[in-house]
Amino acid sequence: MKLFAIRGGIHPDYRKELCAEKAIVALPLPRKLTIPLQQHAGAPALPVVAVGDVVGKGQVLAKAQGMISAPVHAPTSGRIAEIGDFPAPHPSGLTQRSIILEPDGRDAWADDLPAPIADPFKASARDIGDRVAASGIVGLGGAAFPSAVKLSLGTRHKLDMLLLNGAECEPYLTCDDRVMREYTDEVVDGARIMAHALGAPRVVVAIEDNKPAALAAMVKAAGAFANVEVVSVPVQYPMGSERHLTQAIIGLETPARKLTADLGVVVHNVATARAVHHAVRFGRPLVSRVVTVSGKGISQPKNVDVPLGTAVSELLAFCGGLSGTPKRVISGGPMMGQPLPSLDVPVVKGTSGILALTDAEVNEKPAGPCIRCGTCVTICPCGLVPVEMAAFIRKENMDGAAKSGVMDCVSCGSCSYVCPSHIPLVHYFNYAKGMINAKDRERRKTEQTKAMVEVRAARLEKLAEAKHKATAARKAPTETPGEGKASA
């Protein structure tokens, strides 16, 4: 298959060898699970259980609310101990509404799981979409966008291809690699079901060529199906970015403010496909995920199948704990992952990795002056000029930064990674994006308020007018009583 070049990008130190040959192991059931109601992009789920309830594995704990949302399910059987606010796996360190589940140790599936869909390829797109939605499946690559919403794109777009993302371009992470190697058939089956739901005639699985075992396994499994093709893509961060991967495969850039679906392509992660397989074939919702626990600050790096809601500290203990004092503990990959505020936060649907990185791995240095070397311009996969945007942002010139394209930045981190002066460019851009979004919200709010004030003024005016008329009407008969009498 002919591949197309993508612009820029970098070749970070991948360090995948720490974990690539470690088979997935299941985590023993923890004593307590903390299940946040929002583990996805969109609105938080609404609890449907009460404290004291006994639940089976896979039972709905909270239902989706709104268009973009996802339900959460019991990762194991047990008792609801508490519903309250607990620290979220987010750098803010803020709390989040969460359900505390005390496992009973039986790990028994609930009785009322939905029935398997006997022949998914005869089922309607709607049925599969509903099942995926009801199973709480979100993008497991890390973005955690509700998958059912992306599966419904087939109704509004004529799609050519389901592009299954097995690029796994983040350093350290090997969870997708292992899933493709160990659950090959499940991934392929899930992908075919998704393609059917999307109405996409083809499935293309893209895997970076630093994963030869996964490639071989997937090629073999895909051989049985004429419409499934496995493609090896070059190692080039951020190959796994949805729009860049699409460009590498079909050669077209997704226009700004459009979706890859407008080009006929929908991208889903390989682990998501496996979750769809479980939901459709067995009626099992998303209750666990494979997490890469790695970094030189981890005693025994592992790929672990973790029940959602497990405390990071418990997962780390299973991996032999921290060795020494790591400099940073990250959720996700080192390029785009989030630092964790504490080790007491839970593993959620979007947690692809837990990394404990040493000083040497992080290689942080104080920022120096920019020497305009232009490397950030050369490697920016979005064709932006980071050096210029940073100059605007340093002067708090958000309009300049916006005009320079900061909102097109995908925060892939390539520029920060290569900067010889160690300038935290992505930090600047995230700050600017926050400021610009806040300003936008403020402006919209002001407009809304203004509109409301105008409506109110109009209403009051109308009311006053009506009152005035009524008074006039009332006054009119009282002023002419004499006449009335006279006429009477």
């Binding site: 850039e253 226009p255 232009g374 311009v377 010889p420």
Partner: protein, 358 residues
């Protein structure tokens, strides 16, 4: 336990640093420098040390006076590099104060007054060179024929100290002209280029470096090797050197073919003067050249055209320094207008039109 940083990711960094970049550039300059120090002897070494030392001392002084941290900036190697390039652009037997005054213009005026590393509009070394060239044209055009160290006729160390630091310079002994200078002078006397070319050093001497010239500019091959090393190490890209040299070569060749009596050949333009040093080491200065690759090509072409124009029509025989400085002043404009196309957008910044393959 908390591991929260004060900034967002990425939590990893390439093994890059300003110091590393500067060190690589200095390493690339080393062969040509060593060769020319050997070729022009002790006075060249003394002037080199004075110039580099002055640059570092002036930088330290400037930082100290304004209360900025001295150590991290001095150790980044940028002042050493500026001094090094300035020294390479001076006549090897020039007196010590040429180096000091050049350093003052380069570091204090061109770099520090603009805000220090990364903030200067003009290439500091070239500001230094041009300032002393304009102020002291006699000393700045007094080149020496090669007098390799430890050969007959080469000055000893004591004599060299006299040449560099004393008042004893006999301008007649150092009156050799650079090839470009010679041809320009001959042309002004009405002797056609085609004729005077016979008296300048041959191609091999030009390539190897056995001819009068600035301290670091004579050996085309060693400078080329240094430049290719920098490219291999990805410190610089091909864009500026190739566009600069290519432009000069093409313009020189075309005009030379049209009128060989009036115009120098393209190959001679490339091999002589500061062309190669300028193309690989001076025009490629990060701070003062455009950040985008397409901008760098425009910049390189501009440098090439201006160099040819100045060499051909202006009063000075050599034009690389002026050309680079003129293009430096255009860098912000080039950066403003010539930028990469953003993903999913047209060059004007509008979203791309939706096209689908069928």
């Amino acid at each position: 336990m908390t591991f929260l940083p004060e900034k967002s990711g990425p939590f990893g960094h390439a093994e890059t640093s300003v110091q590393k970049t500067m060190t690589l550039v200095l390493a690339a300059l080393l062969p040509a420098t060593l060769f020319n120090v050997w070729l022009f002897g002790w006075p060249a070494l003394l002037l080199f040390l004075v110039t580099v030392g002055s640059c570092v001392a002036i930088e330290a002084g400037c930082l100290k006076m304004t209360g900025r941290p001295v150590q991290p900036t001095i150790t980044d190697g940028s002042a050493v590099l500026t001094g090094w390039l300035l020294a390479l652009s001076l006549p090897p037997w020039a007196p010590w104060w040429i180096g000091v005054i050049g350093a003052l213009f380069a570091i204090w005026m061109a770099k520090f007054l603009f805000g220090g590393l990364g903030q200067n509009v003009f290439n500091p070394a070239m500001i230094g060179r041009v300032a002393v060239l304009i102020s002291f044209p006699v000393q700045m055009t007094a080149f020496v024929p090669p007098k390799p160290l430890f050969t007959e006729g080469a000055p000893g160390l004591m004599e060299s100290i006299g040449i560099t630091f004393g008042e004893t310079v006999n301008m007649d002994t150092v009156s050799a002209a650079s090839a470009l200078n010679f041809i320009k002078t001959e042309l002004s006397r009405g002797i056609p280029v085609s004729q005077s070319m016979a008296s300048v050093p041959g191609f091999t001497d030009m390539a190897l470096g056995f001819h009068p010239g600035s301290m670091g500019e004579t050996s085309a091959l060693l400078i080329l090797a240094g430049g290719l090393f920098l490219m291999a190490k990805r410190v610089i890209s091909w864009h500026i050197p190739v566009s600069l040299i290519g432009t000069l070569l093409v313009m020189g060749t075309i005009f030379n073919l049209a009128n060989p009596d009036r115009y120098l050949s393209g190959v001679f333009h490339v091999m002589s003067g500061a062309t190669l040093l300028g193309a690989f080491f001076i025009a490629t200065d990060y701070v003062t050249s455009p950040v985008s690759k397409s901008g760098q090509i425009v910049f390189g072409i501009g440098c090439g055209v201006l160099t040819w124009v100045i060499r051909t029509f202006a009063g000075y025989p050599e034009g690389v320094a002026f050309a680079v400085l003129l293009m430096n002043s255009l860098t912000p404009i080039i950066d403003y207008h010539i930028r990469p196309r953003a993903f999913g957008r047209t060059r004007k910044g509008e979203p791309l039109a939706l096209t689908r393959k069928t």
